[in-house]
Amino acid sequence: MNNERPDPDQLLARVERDKVKAQRGRLKIFFGAVAGVGKTYAMLQAAKERRAENIDIIIGLVETHGRKETAALIDGLEVLSPKLIEYRGTTMREFDLDAALKRKPSIILVDELAHTNAQGCRHPKRWQDIEELLDAGIDVYTALNVQHLESLNDDIGQISGVRVWETVPDTVFDQANEIELVDLPPDELLNRLRDGKVYLPQQAQEAIKNFFRKGNLIALRELALRQTANRVDAQMLDYREDNAIREVWQVNERIMVCIGPNALSERLVRAGKRFANSLRAEWLVVYVETPELQRLSAEKRDGVLRILRLAEQLGAETVTLNAPDISSAIIKFSNERNVTKIVMGKPTRRGWKRLLLGSVVDVLISDAHNINLYLLGSPRHEKGSIVDKADTSLYRRNPLPGLSRKLALRKKNRSIGYVWALAVTVASTLLAYLMFGRFELANMIMVFLLGVVFIATRFGRGPSIFASFLGAAIFDFLFVKPYLSFTVADSQYLVTLLAMLIVGVLISNLMANVRSQAKVAGHRERRATVLYAMSKDLTASQSEDEIVRTAVRHLNSEFGSCNVILFPDPDGRIVYPKAPGLRESLHAADLSVAQWVFDHNEIAGQGTNTLPGAEAIYFPLSNKETVMGVLVLLPVNLRRIFLPEQQKLLETFLGQIAQAVMRVRLAEQARTTQVSMEAERLRNSLLSSISHDLRTPLATIVGSASALVEDENALRVEDRLELSRAIYDEAQRMSSLVNNILDMARLDAGTIELNKQWYPVEEIIGSVSTRLQKRFEGRRLSVDLPEGTPMIFVDTVMIEQVLINLLENSLRYTPDKSPVEIIAEVSAFAVKVSVADHGPGIPKGLENQLFEKFYRVRHEAAQSGVGLGLAICRAIIEAHGGKIQAQNRPEGGAIFSFVIPLDQAQPVLGPEE
């Protein structure tokens, strides 16, 4: 490996980062150890300076806490009026995000980055508001205390004994463009506190005063300084990368944090975050869900879910793996992703249990050779299953409204299992009693074990273990000497009993695993079936409407939720669908939320971080980078959507829907391209046809006319007549040519409105035969029209044109004097009119091409037209909803027929008075 060359991946990442940075607003954080160090003051002073430089800077929201020096700084700066929100009787002043976005200053001041918004704001957290401001390209100044940093929250809580619930993800801090440390030595701060210069909320005075102990202040100051120093360090690294200063290049580290359903997980995630930061490495958080873990209570699974979300907020990629064995899944996955370091909790199993049942850590140590393991111990008081604690703390900070709703417990089912266990054991006892004396005791034990196996297969672990113990006890009590006593005389029976118990428990465990694996397999199969069914239907869908209908139906049947898919109009505004809704459609989607989701390509609505107050959940329907629409889903139960496997399923659904929509759109695009290519081709052949067909008669006209003009009496009278006639004939030809071209152009442009009226077929034929009388001199034109032919509802001028074109076509392509026939046939639904000739017929295989534009049977034939006549016929007949076709007649000659549908009731004639 050449050490001189910067890693291309890293360079690419830098370029991406710089690009995003250039469009995004810049974030400057005024960072302090605790409240009272003067962050707001420093921030306002900076604002004053910017103002003096004539930069458009405004105050979005600033808390002066009544301090005069601070308030004085606000003078002369534009202040955005706060949004007032009524909440439980009190009015809250909140930052007005929409007003700020509308005002769009170059810099905006928004105090207290860690603030939690009142219910009713778009985002639950202020840092999310600020993210949106940055996305909109607005620079932001804000203030933050070190204790509000998510990853330090734990440690500071432990140091100071006071925990804050308002935290800011480290990613926000890390991505800030500038950090300005506002520092004040602890002594001075304490002085200010004494002088009453530090604002403290009334109700918590005492607790907070306790917090402002010197030791605490020193520790916090150190943390703040260190955090800032770390950042400076990182900037240094960036600089070195930019300037290709070698040495520090390191292999890309990737850290994987493995979590489980216990309170240690939260600490593991925070530790992983810090670890990843210090190594400047990517990090993943992985949860392996074994069949056993799938049997955990819903509350515990929700706890895991929340930790995964916390990890996401801290900037990790989270993965849930489904596998029967934790260690092998971890090893496989870490190899796939080139993980170099694994962070996990110390094994909880100790002593003989660890020896007997093994631990994930031990397996990893022996099997994952190239991976470094970092183990995190759990504080003593958090030993054991402490999900309860995780529940309270995590829930408060990462609210997932709805997830806390408890499902109806299935306890009833379980108690039935125990009743069965009792019954089966009693039955076994009766059977054993009958065998007593006639069989060996070992055989009687088999009877009990049989019962245990039965219970295990039907009711799972608990009841079957219960049955094992009960069986062992009864066996000892009734059949082992001394009878009717739990004491065991012969010590060899002790071994028998113990073996029976162990075998019972083992069988129970095995059966339970088999059962749950079967259940998981069943779930998987069902999911695969559901996915297959939808993708099959989606593939069959030919239009966007159809895709939406298919998707809405499948989403409804899988997630039980009414839903709707919204698409933007050409201006990019999300609009309600035009198509009528289905039974499963959702009708109350909030367009403004959908618009936000569409613009930001992020999920919003209930259970998410954006507009959690909304009733529905809004998912962007996107294909990689392009957002195509928004899926709005009204959840009946959040668990059905946010459980990892369901979420994955939904994501797959969304991906498939997006893909299907993309496919249809691409096909549509291809069609339009095809059409325009076709138009281009037509234009070209039109030009070449016209230039040939117009020039030929023009040459005759110009030539003959010039001969007449320049005649100086040299021409004989007959010659003059001849020349004049040539001019006349050629002009007629050009006239019909131009008419055809104009007709075709009008038909193509679709500007023709059919003036449909009721006409007798006879009249149309009559009109045409009158008009063509001269052309048919010397030929026989016979008409075969059955009595009582109904009237047809057509544009007569057009239909006459069709007949004329067909007849002229016959005249052109058949020998002189050969007769032409017009034949009408009537069926219940249509009238068919045919023009039959006795010419050479149509060359084989050309029956359909004849109706193409510019098609001519004999290409260089001098007398032919541009080849538009039949194309015009087809366009007219198709505009009437009919069909036109050409065939050869068995007796020789060609027959052209068109069909006009009779799809309306014939008009009635009132009686003659």
Binding site: N755, E763, G766, T770, V783, M791, V797, G910
Partner: protein, 231 residues
């Protein structure tokens, strides 16, 4: 040119067509006055006392229909309009406004002269209709007084409406009559939207009067415009 030669006013903006009309009509004994604008045409029509007016519908300064209306305010002089193709509605509008016949460009001199003759004949009196009110064309003979219709020597019985319709055509023999006009004349003004009535009765008339209704000799269809009884 004699004193009795008929006077024709040509209102047409295209000089080439004016030239063609002037020379060819002049050669056939007509006295031709020209106007290249509608306004001027109306004035010419007033001062020249023409026997016939040839009017192009596509004039630069005003609508052809308005020229017809202006002239019809004080004169019943026959007007033949010239129009481009595929503008049936314009023709109908012009005919309903009072024009007497139309020609579609491009047209030949033969067609034009035939139309002019029909119109001039009408404006004097119908020579095909003699003093006793007998009208004949080809094999058709109509006695307008006794309301009898003959094909050859055979009398044909017509229903009252059939006769009414036919008599309108006979009285305007050679002229194109719009659907609207025929409906109004034969059925009355309230029937003007029932143009299929007209078609059905025309079909009945053809079956009674024509030898082959699919190749009519007398009752001709003017596609999209109306009907004409050929003389």
């Amino acid at each position: 040119m004699t004193l009795s030669s008929p006077v024709i006013v040509v209102i047409e903006d295209d000089p080439a067509i004016r030239l063609f009309l002037r020379t060819s009509l002049g050669a056939h004994g007509f006295k031709v006055f020209e106007a290249d604008r509608g306004q001027q045409g109306i004035i010419e029509a007033g001062i020249r006392k023409p026997d016939l007016i040839i009017l192009d519908l596509g004039l630069p300064d005003m609508e052809g229909v308005d020229v017809i209306k202006a002239i019809r305010e004080w004169s019943v002089v026959p007007i033949i309009i010239l129009s481009a193709r595929s503008t049936e509605q314009h023709k109908i509008d012009a005919l309903d406004a009072g024009a007497d016949d139309y020609l579609t460009k491009p047209f030949g001199l033969g067609e034009l002269l035939a139309r002019i003759r029909v119109e001039l004949r009408h404006s004097v009196s119908s020579p095909t209709q003699d003093q006793k009110g007998i009208f004949t064309t080809g094999m058709l003979k109509v006695d307008l007084l006794s309301r009898q219709v003959f094909v050859g020597d055979k009398e044909v019985h017509l229903t009252p409406i059939q006769y009414r319709l036919f008599s309108v055509l006979v009285k305007n023999a050679g002229k194109v009559l719009t659907h609207q006009y025929l409906l109004k004349e034969a059925w009355g003004p309230s029937y003007k939207d029932n143009s299929h009535y007209l078609r059905i009765y025309m079909s009945q008339l053809r079956h009674k009067l024509e030898e082959d209704p699919t190749q009519p000799q007398y009752l001709l269809t003017e596609s999209g415009v109306g009907y004409r009884l050929k003389v």
